[in-house]
Symmetry: C2
Subunit: 291 residues, 2 copies
């Protein structure tokens, strides 16, 4: 299949959904919605909502079935970036070449917009109509647990702590399993929870595990040997910041071998069932991408 | 009834529930749970969980029926205080005589602990067993909407904007309806949503509206004429900060008259149904309190 076209089309769909949301549609000047809109429309691959759509297709449902979930995971991803960029956290002035929320507005408004994006994700989830109420509650429990103190936030805390310590390969894996992996897994597993497909819940969780790690390893590799023009950002920044990375710990060649290993394991997890094509192409994209 | 005793007993119950939570029980040094625990156990009246219990009793159910809701509203209240105290927001070093979370730990950990407390509230809500799944979803929608961009967060944004503008009585009322009122109302209305009691949902919402405004007006009055020893904090701080308050806008006497008006309206809303005793005593406490 033409994965580049699928990525373009699904991205367009997600961005249409975001623009149709009241938050973006009725954002007054000086309101928190203005900051939410700015951050939601500041670019990005839209990979997490795309994983929701790919997982939904794998389950034999129309990929647009769980629009609320696609938006919820993108809103949570955006909230985590807005808070992560704050002066007290990573202190970033730019993201994807544009001023970060606290530079464009104020630090107070960036904190509140992040809070509001996280909260809005749960509003969206609670309004899912295309699943049984019991299954929606399981999905909300899974999502909130994945991005809370035992998931995404734990990853961020470990990442902060890692700035002042020597980090080994196993610790680096735990940081990424939580910081980025937990939300990738949630995006993939939640459609299975919502459709009550417990068998595929397991396989999607395994795929998500390997997808997340492969994605992160390749991110680290591209920061060393990538083409800045294709990436749309500078390379070498991880090294400048003294960040623990896969190529930093084991070298580019061994990091590539690890990424290949995760590609194979992800593919084994989902097998060759009908509907698995997009997921196969997505893990290929995650490993082979130049951007 | 002896409301002072009820307040002591229910506060003890709530604090026992908090201490039994895994967050507090297994909080390692350096973890986000350590910061969450510190903030959750830093005192406070526990008024929002008490409103959950009083509302549940009014509905004819054992007051402990919705323990998860009691914890969820207290966790959300605590998150909002932790973020509100941050340097970029109110920049407070002390709360209830103790260092605020970002002074005790770091600003980054306070941001993440606030995020984790908000997220944990939705984990708790999604695990409610004592209601129908459809009703739990309605309750989650109500709660997330009450504390998001159209509720609590809007109130905080308006409060920030009010620092640089002249605020009239009607604007002040809107700030408080959102900033503190929305969570008070949610604490009262959610037990009605969970028990599917739509008639009492209306009356509890009206009671909550007047309870919240009465509570805030008396807070403002006590900051002018209260006894610091009973309050456990300094008075005159609102005036020093140039904060818009009810006594500042209309004088202490008229502010008292407004609080009395809200007391009467709250009492009319709930009527003299069996089970309404605690709610009657609570609005009396909110208006007559010296602390």
């Amino acid at each position: 299949m033409d994965i580049e076209k699928w990525l373009r089309d699904s991205r367009t769909t997600v961005e249409k959904w975001i623009k149709e949301d009241d938050i973006v549609h009725f954002a007054d000047i000086g309101s928190v919605e203005e900051v939410m809109r700015y951050s939601l429309l500041a670019g990005g691959k839209r990979l997490r909502p795309q994983l929701v759509m790919a997982s939904t297709a794998y389950l034999g449902l129309p990929p647009e079935t769980f629009r609320e979930v696609a938006l919820a995971v993108e809103y949570i991803h955006t909230y985590s970036l807005v808070h992560d960029d704050l002066p007290a956290m990573d202190n970033d002035d730019l993201r994807r070449g544009q001023p970060t929320a606290h530079k464009m507005f104020t630090e107070a408004m960036a904190i509140l917009a992040g809070d509001a994006l996280l909260t809005e994700a749960f509003v969206k989830m609670s309004r899912i109509q295309s699943a049984k109420a019991e299954d929606v509650l399981s999905a909300m429990d899974y999502l909130a647990s994945a991005v809370g103190r035992e998931g995404l936030i734990r990853g961020q805390v470990m990442d902060l702590a890692a700035e002042h310590a020597t980090v080994g390969l196993s610790e680096l894996k735990i940081v990424h399993r939580n910081k980025t992996g937990a939300l990738f897994r949630a995006a993939l597993v939640i459609p299975a929870l919502l459709s009550g497909n417990h068998m595929r819940q397991q396989t999607l969780g395994q795929y998500g595990e390997h997808f997340g790690l492969a994605f992160q390893i390749v991110d680290d590799i591209l920061n060393v040997v990538g083409n800045p023009a294709l990436l749309g950002k500078n390379i070498g920044t991880d090294r400048e910041r003294g960040k623990a990375t896969y190529p930093g710990l084991v070298g580019v060649e061994e990091a590539r071998r690890l990424a290949e290993d995760h590609r194979i394991r992800a593919k084994i997890a989902i097998g060759s069932e009908p509907g698995a094509e997009i997921l196969h192409s997505l893990i290929d994209f995650a490993v082979d991408r130049q951007w």
